[in-house]
Amino acid sequence: MRAPDPNTSMDGVIAAASRVILGKDHQLRLALACLLARGHLLIEDLPGVGKTTLAHVLAQLLGLNFQRIQFTSDMLPADILGVSIYDRDSSAFNFHPGPIFAQVVLADEINRATPKTQSALLEAMEERQVTAEGQTRPLPAPFFVIATQNPQYQIGTFPLPESQLDRFLMRIELGYPDRAAERELLAGADRREVLAGMAPCLSPAELLAHQESVRRVHVSDALIDYVQALVAHTRESADWQAGLSPRAALALLASARAWAWLADRDHVLPEDIQAILPGVAGHRLRPAGDAPATGSVARLIEAVPIP
């Protein structure tokens, strides 16, 4: 069994974060699991439900440096990656790193940018490095992108294509806070002040170590059977246009490991898969025909018995 301290520190992160993001423990936990699984997170929801705050809180509590990029339709790739500017003193071009050179990057309203700019970000996310002017520069570690996206029926957006959605390990929705949480928010102190007064619970090195131990969480054959059964069901059923890819299956396992680690377990249970399944599979499955999109993952869980 593992020593309890990393875990308590993660619990501390969640406890602290939930003082700012009220009543969203599950989403916080998913976001942390995503980070621990070295994935990137897409938050999709209406404006004003706390997407940006969530990103802020995570960066602050984990002691990571934070950059925020507000995407707009006139944004260019160089605005994210950085640009070389001629320096008269040294008579040379100096590279000025863009906002992406940070440990936590909040890509706010990513679907407002043009596909060209989007893909610059997504490539950097995938490769964890930036190539500009013939030179490859690694991005800091840990590197965690939280992108937010407004629902696509909002005017003036460029929805991310499926292939790019796949770059995000998870997609979560925050949703409106419940009545009690909203009341606390309205009546209580300004969240920004609370946030500013927070001390980091973790150092970046510790986080990297945690990421490493997440990878060692045991996955049994029986569990792989379950993942395969789920994936096979999405491929055979007529409910979806296409089934889950092997990459999606890997994402399921990675996320479930992180989830199990957060629950202080050294092995993954079917419940872990079920817990992260909506976040991991939701944006990768497009319903076929006019089947409703909502609840399609819940139906998937119900349809596949645990072997």
Partner: protein, 652 residues
């Protein structure tokens, strides 16, 4: 609660449905009125166009109108809505119109089930191999459509292939049902008008021209198999209707009541055993080599040695026969019969009458007269042809002295008349002569163009003797076949053309396949079924024991399948087996694990339901989860024992 709506058809599914409709309805086109074909085609085209342009389907009131119009059309065509033809026409009409309102998967399923029925409807008209192939294709497409309705994402070829595999998988069950399902005697769809349509074949009167008509037909009359080798061609006289009454132009049978016993005693030796399969011809006649031996219970014999069935042959019939080629009967023939066999109308054929008087004057006995007549026939150089000139009143005279060209009925007619004028009892026998041996399966096929007529004369002390006057003038007809005997310019059926060797080869093979199909598939009658089952060891195979066996075997097959599936599931670790048994135990209290419920979720639910046992339950679930999902180092052996112990002591 809102009514659950079936999902809409996707364009791919609509295409599949259209393909199914075409596949099952196309073979029925020759059997339905042309206007219906056009109407159904238009409906399909319309649906296709709508599917193509993704436009909405026509409104309901229009469909109601169309259905009413179609039904009126069927009613007008057939004067009724009931029966086979109007039924099939209605089915096709409704299928075509159903397309125009097929919006959802559920409608699609209705179309497919209708299509399955239509695929079967072909067999009301014809049960030959091509019909079976067409029907199978229809079923294949319909099955593929069912698959596409369930999941339209596969490419068409893959769907078709999967449907084919599924049909192949159904094959054992189909064979089981075919062999064991109690057979019904007679045609499945015993509807009037169906079986009694005209068929080519011999008739019970013979006038000049009546047999040469048959020479243009290559339809099969019957097939025969000789286990001990086929007798020489010249012995293959297949006896059919015997015609003794002559009115100056046409020959008719005496029409006496047939008896269940042969009018003669069978000889002890010289019998040939063979098997014969007669195609249905809606007459009582059976065909047998001259002269046939003992009849079975279902056969009768006429006084003039023709075998008859007790019922008209409406279906293909298989019979075991024995004949005595060297045997002559009737030396003690009735005087009345002999007198009737010498009757000629007044003033009939004066020229041959004068000639016969001459023969009689010069002859010492009947044998001499017979010889003189045969010599005369030979000297006249009569030409055997399929296209003889038309004859007037005195058919025998004109044939023998004027036209000198004729087909077998001219020869038989003239010879019988000549014999009667000379005072020798004579009659005409019709039937078939020869046949073609199929080298592929060893069956002798006798076709309508093998139809023949010959004569029989009665000599005192010897009985009835066969004289074939055609053989005198055209011996090749008897030794070989029709094609060898007639002039090369005569029109022959395609199948008789000797110069097309490859065609004959194909025909032989196809014939053999058809024959096997007839015997083993279509000819699988109640009697054959009983035989087979008896041979398989069933003592008294009636429909009850057959149904019971069928149920038992089908049940066994299902059991085997279930056992196999279960076995597949049983190959798993003992931890899971314990867990499932445990869940099953709790299931008796209504707390069974849902299939998609993980151990901790389950434990949480049980803990809420049975608070007193919450701690135990959590411990069990934890242990189970660790054993099943944890790293192998946890120690499965001891852990398993502990799990078993905890589960046994779990008493909520």
């Amino acid at each position: 609660m809102a009514k659950a709506r079936s999902p809409a058809l996707s364009p791919v599914q609509a295409w599949w449905l259209i393909a199914t409709g075409i596949a099952v309805a196309a073979p029925l086109v020759p059997h339905i009125p042309p206007w219906l074909t056009i109407a159904a085609g238009l409906a399909l085209l319309w649906r296709t166009a709508l599917a193509w342009q993704r436009k909405p389907l026509p409104p309901r009131w229009l469909l109601v109108l169309l259905v009413a119009a179609g039904c009126a059309g069927v009613l007008w065509q057939f004067r009724t809505l009931f029966g086979q033809n109007p039924g099939v026409a209605l089915l096709i009409l409704l299928l075509a119109l159903k397309y125009l309102e097929a919006r959802t998967i559920r409608d699609g399923l209705a179309v497919v089930f209708l299509a399955f029925f239509l695929a079967l409807a072909q067999f009301f008209y014809s049960q030959v191999i091509p019909a079976a192939i067409a029907s199978t294709l229809g079923v294949l497409v319909a099955t593929a459509t069912l698959l596409a309705l369930a999941d339209p994402r596969d490419p068409p070829l893959a769907t078709l292939r999967r449907a084919g595999v599924m049909l192949l998988q159904a094959l054992p069950l189909m064979l089981l049902l075919f062999v064991l399902f109690p057979r019904v005697q007679g045609p499945l769809w015993a509807l009037p008008r169906d079986a009694n349509s005209a068929r080519t074949g011999l008739s019970d009167t013979m006038a000049p021209g009546s047999i040469s008509e048959l020479s243009q037909s290559d339809a099969i009359a019957f097939r025969a198999r000789f286990p001990d080798g086929v007798p020489p061609q010249r012995q293959l006289y297949w006896r059919g209707p015997v015609l003794s009454d002559f009115d100056g132009r046409a020959w008719r049978p005496l029409g006496e009541k047939p008896q269940p016993r042969l009018p003669y005693t069978e000889p002890d030796a010289g019998g040939i055993d063979y098997e014969i399969i007669i195609e249905p011809h809606n007459r009582h006649w059976l065909f047998a080599l001259e002269l046939p031996g003992a009849t079975t219970a279902a056969m009768l014999a006429t006084h003039d040695y023709q075998l008859l069935a007790t019922e008209p042959l409406a279906t293909r019939r298989r019979l075991a026969m024995r004949s005595y080629p060297a045997f002559h009967a009737g030396s003690d023939e009735d005087a009345t019969v002999r007198r009737r066999a010498m009757f000629l109308p007044e003033g009939s054929n004066p020229r041959i009458r004068a000639l016969a008087a001459q023969w009689r004057a010069q002859a010492r006995n009947d044998d001499d007269v017979l010889l003189a007549a045969q010599t005369f026939f030979l000297r006249q150089r009569l030409l055997y042809t399929l296209m003889p000139p038309l004859l007037g009143e005195q058919t025998a005279d004109e044939f023998l002295f004027d036209t000198k060209q004729g087909f077998c009925e001219h020869f038989a007619n003239a010879f019988a008349v000549a014999m009667r004028t000379a005072g020798i009892p004579a009659r005409v026998v019709t039937g078939y002569q020869g046949g073609e041996l199929n080298p592929v399966d060893g069956w002798l096929t006798v076709r309508q163009y093998d139809a023949h007529a010959w004569t029989e004369v009665w000599l005192p002390g010897r009985g009835w003797l066969r004289i074939d006057p055609t053989a005198i003038s055209a011996p090749t007809r008897i030794d070989l076949n029709l094609a060898a005997a007639v002039p090369a310019s005569d029109p022959l059926p395609l199948l008789m053309r000797v110069d097309l060797a490859w065609l004959r080869d194909i025909r032989f093979r196809w014939d053999a396949v058809t024959n096997a199909w007839n015997q083993w598939v279509l000819g699988y009658s109640p009697a054959r079924q009983r035989d087979l089952l008896r041979r398989l060891g069933m003592r008294e195979p009636d429909w009850r024991s057959m149904t019971a066996t069928l149920a038992v075997l089908a049940g066994l097959a299902l059991l085997a399948l279930t056992a196999w599936t279960l076995r597949q599931r049983r190959r798993r670790d003992p931890v899971l087996a314990l867990w499932e048994r445990f869940s099953h135990r709790l299931g008796r209290r209504g707390l069974a694990r849902r299939p998609d419920e993980g151990p901790h979720d389950y434990a949480a639910r049980i803990a809420t339901a049975l608070p007193q046992a919450a701690a135990d339950m959590r411990a069990i679930a934890d242990l189970y989860a660790r054993l099943r999902y944890g790293p192998a180092t946890t120690g499965v052996g001891t852990g398993l024992d502990e799990l078993r112990r905890r589960m046994a002591s779990f008493a909520p």
